[in-house]
Amino acid sequence: MNSGLLPLAVLLTSALAGVVIFLLRERQHRLRTGVNLTAALLKLLLVGLLLNGVLQGREYTLRIPFTDGAELLLRADPLALLFLSLSAVLWLITTIYAIGYLEGAPHRSRFFGFFSLCVSATAGVALAGNLLTFLLFFELLTLTTWPLVVHRGTEKALRAGVVYLAYTLGGGTLLLLGTVWLHTLVGSTLFVPGGVTDPGGQISAATWQAIAALLLLGVGVKAALVPLHGWLPRAMVAPAPVSALLHAVAVVKAGAFGVVRILYDVVGIERAVALNIAPLLAMLAAATIIWGSLRALEQQNLKRRLAFSTVSQVSYITLGAAMAGPLALIGGLVHLVHQGLMKITLFFCAGNLAKTLGVHSVGQMRGVGRRMPLTMLAFTLAALGMIGLPPMAGFVSKWYLGLGALEAGHGGWIAVLALSSVLNAAYFLPLLYSVWFRSPLPQEEGEWQPVLQRGGHETALTLLLPTLFVALAALLAGLFAATADSPLAWAELIVRREYFR
């Protein structure tokens, strides 16, 4: 079997599902659900095959000619698989969640169609083997997520959509310029561990800096680096599964993943350090970590608070990559998965609250722990993980980042990590206190609208089970981080096999 077909199949499973779903009628929800779940399961299977193959050192590449001298390249390397597996697993979970969340809502065909396309684009970003392919799927991701962001169609959603497009298209433009520039100078944009080779050495340091700045800022918009993060909190108007997907899997992660790719496979980390690109990026990431947490502290809307928390947390990945050491990179990469699991849990919980009780703001959450104990248990676990408390997954990332900072000789970043922990605690713990230990005000309890038919459980099972599953995953990823099949082990494999041999 041609080994290039497997990555293509991974892309196509969700893309074709998306197209089929578009063609379905609104009321054929059973068929739509079937298509959705079949595609998601199939994709999971294919990704599993791919994972197994890559683990055994097999190569999977697919080349498609694009123009003279440029080609589209799909390639499954360990780093790609890290992101791909995350997106495949969480796609399945989020699909189940979304089916429950949007039950009875209008325009579901459109929603699930774009949803599937968006996952395809994410898979493309993961599997891209050169910068051109990356750019292609990166922009496709923008296009396919915009309809999801404005799905509600309200004035507010539309405004958020404008902001989203403005930021991401602007970022895409920078990325495009950087990519073309590099292509004209080097004649290739292939991802090579250690960075693109510059055969004649004719590229000056200033040019490298400019190209790196363009590329990194381009992906930095999606990675929500301050001051390019403004779109993220506004995009919160989208339905909860979308927010979950946006924050945990697709958009923000694609940005962070892009940062790693560009630093390690395009610019090359040694060059990035020598040209002061990596240290500057690390500073930007550190500023983002602190700023995001500070902004989260003042948010009263739950999803906005979570959004700023994402701004802060995703920059851990950037920081880990920019610290330019094996341990730090392990920390950053593993946080790609860990943050995904924890943040998707938080957003699922926010969705459960909104859907079941009509609770949207932090103030309404008083005593909600007694009404929805399992949901809030998941929320608590994820929040503790965000703070970085063991044994949650967030602790493991933070631990490796800290050790990595020392290894790279920049112990000062530890202060940022510690401060971030403290700030995370400052905006999560009072919330947890009021959720569990305060009793709801009588009038607020009245305001908890029974939005959903629950059928004996605290909320619909399609909402509850995915939530519990991801929370459990976030717990297990941390608790059993030292086992051979954990995300941590995979991140270590990536770093040892590809970047720091």
Partner: protein, 549 residues
């Protein structure tokens, strides 16, 4: 079998806590609360030293070991958790939130045992964190205003401490080239490139838990607000966890660190005196005991500081330090339970007798456990540290005064929480058990720690007590004004919390929105003349561009 017991010591409270999640099982499970400390207690006795338990897949490679120091701390902690658990089962039987209390009690207990047994850094941090955060719920349990404030202050400091500790532990592990094993980390710190910073972070991080002077102010607030059994374990077991952290991580006895050592010594001694003086101005028996804890923990801290400064004292001082910790933990725990008994049952003469005995022991009266610790300490200190011996004697004198003050306050408080029925059997059982282990128990344990017991130097033990008598008489007539519990720092923090609660929010600048509008001049249709001019101009430009090359 041995490993199973060790695992059970840590896991049995956790499993019980998980099982409490099932509502139907709760009535049967709640009475098991104190008994889940038994595996730990049995481990102390049955598990041979240096037994290891490895869970390589868990967290970052979890391992446990029972070593000499850990065993002593496990002993005192398990005793405290067990007896206070008995007390708690009885005292909180009618509490509406008893499930919640039990749940977090179990979690905190597991954290406490786990951190004592953990042999790797991440595991230590895991259990330390588990204990710290779980005890937060125990502190604000009553959810009165003062309890909530105490909880807030405690939580703020715990979070700060976790941050400092994370940074400190990372630095320590980084200096040991990423080794997780505690012994390696400890020796790595001896020649760490970031030694100063690591020491500062660890001193402050554990100092918060140990009630080191400028970071102590959560302690009296929390002890006063928490239910009695929680105060007992807080003061007895959990404060010791901070001390244990120092003993585990600081390169004691390996390298001389005069700067850090003198700082800790100074802060510790200052705390020892401050606790006494400030405690005398309290009107709540638990607050008095809490400040006494500040004082005693200060004393222990100063000894650690001394060893940091002069590492050759490590060998002679360690057993004394352990004895002192054991004595203080059990006695202070018993005193707290006594407060509970007195408040609920009134002060009957046996209760009073025990209270007096405990107080005397804490003050170091002859033939008590306290005296044993004191004498041992004095004989372990080298001759040239005469001033330290004198200071310790003065502290003992102050403690005696404070204990006298405590008894007075206790008598005033008798029966203020009297319940309809007499305290139940479990409560008596717990209280008497702890008191028994505190009074003769320390004597029994002492030979285990010290190969030869020093003789009782009667006079040197007595004069500090006698010195306290005139001072007590003075205070009788001129009592100190009432100073706020939690002293100044807590008051400041309260202001912040109050302001936050009253809706004070800070505003950060918003990120720029896209949506600005601009106006262009309206486009006029046509414009033939302008186009003509443009045509001519561009024609000229084209021509010039060719010719002027």
């Amino acid at each position: 079998m041995i490993q199973l017991l060790l695992a059970a010591a840590i896991l049995s409270p956790l499993i019980l806590a998980l099982a409490l999640g099932v509502q139907r099982w709760r009535p049967r499970l709640l009475p098991l609360l104190p008994w889940s400390a038994l595996p730990a207690l049995l481990s102390v006795v049955l598990v041979p030293l240096e037994s290891r338990l490895e869970w390589p897949g868990v967290l970052l490679g979890q391992s446990f070991v029972l070593d000499e120091m850990g065993r002593l701390f496990l002993l005192l902690s398990a005793l405290l958790w067990f007896t206070s658990g008995l007390f708690a089962r009885s005292a909180l039987r009618d509490d509406p939130h008893q499930t919640r209390f039990s749940l977090f009690w179990l979690l905190a207990m597991s954290g406490n045992f786990g951190l004592l047994l953990a042999a790797d850094t991440a595991g230590f941090y895991l259990f330390f964190t588990l204990m710290s955060f779980s005890s937060w719920v125990l502190i604000f349990h009553s959810q009165s205003d003062s309890a909530r404030q105490a909880g807030g202050v405690y939580l703020a400091l715990v979070v700060l401490g976790e941050g400092l500790l994370l940074a400190g532990l990372l630095l320590a592990v980084g200096a040991a080239d990423g080794a997780q094993e505690l012994t390696l980390v400890r020796s790595g710190l001896a020649d760490s490139p970031w030694q100063g910073m690591t020491l500062a972070l660890l001193l402050a991080g554990f100092g918060i838990k140990a009630g080191l002077l400028p970071l102590h102010f959560w302690l009296p607030l929390a002890h006063t607000a928490a239910p009695v059994p929680a105060s007992a374990v807080l003061s007895g077991a959990m404060l010791k966890a901070g001390l244990f952290g120092w003993l585990r991580f600081l390169p004691l006895g390996e390298v001389a660190l005069p700067g850090a050592g003198q700082l800790l010594l100074g802060l510790g001694l200052a705390g020892a005196f401050f606790g006494v003086v400030y405690g005398l101005a309290q009107r709540d028996s638990k607050a008095v005991l809490a400040y006494s804890s500040v004082s005693h923990m200060g004393l222990l801290s100063s000894l650690i500081g001394l060893v940091l400064w002069q590492p050759w004292l490590w060998q002679p001082l360690l057993p004394v330090l352990l004895l002192y910790a054991l004595h203080h933990a059990l006695t202070k725990g018993a005193l707290f339970l006594t407060v509970g008994v007195a408040r609920r049952a009134g002060v009957a003469s046996p209760v009073l007798a025990v209270a007096v005995l405990l107080a005397l022991s804490l003050a170091g009266a002859p033939y008590t456990g306290g005296a044993l610790a004191k004498i041992a300490l004095k004989s372990a200190l080298p001759g040239q540290l005469e001033w330290l011996v004198w200071s310790l004697a003065l502290v003992a004198s102050g403690t005696a005064l404070l204990m006298w003050h405590f008894l007075r306050v206790l008598l005033r408080e008798k029966g203020i929480e009297r319940v309809a029925r007499e305290p139940r059997g479990l409560m008596w059982f717990g209280w008497s058990g702890l008191s028994l282990s505190a009074l003769p128990g320390v004597w029994l344990a002492a030979p285990w720690l010290l190969p030869q017991l020093p003789g009782m130097a009667l006079w040197s033990l007595l004069w500090p007590l006698l010195l306290a008598l005139p001072a007590a008489r003075l205070l009788w007539h001129y009592p100190l004004p009432r100073w706020p519990n939690g002293d100044l720092a807590a008051a400041c923090l309260n202001v912040v919390i109050l302001r936050l609660r009253s809706g004070w929010r800070f505003r950060l600048p918003q990120s720029p929105a896209v949506g600005w509008r601009w106006r262009l001049p309206p486009a006029r249709p046509g414009g033939g003349r302008a186009a003509g001019i443009a045509l001519a101009l561009i024609g000229v430009a084209l021509y010039l561009a060719i010719t002027m090359r």
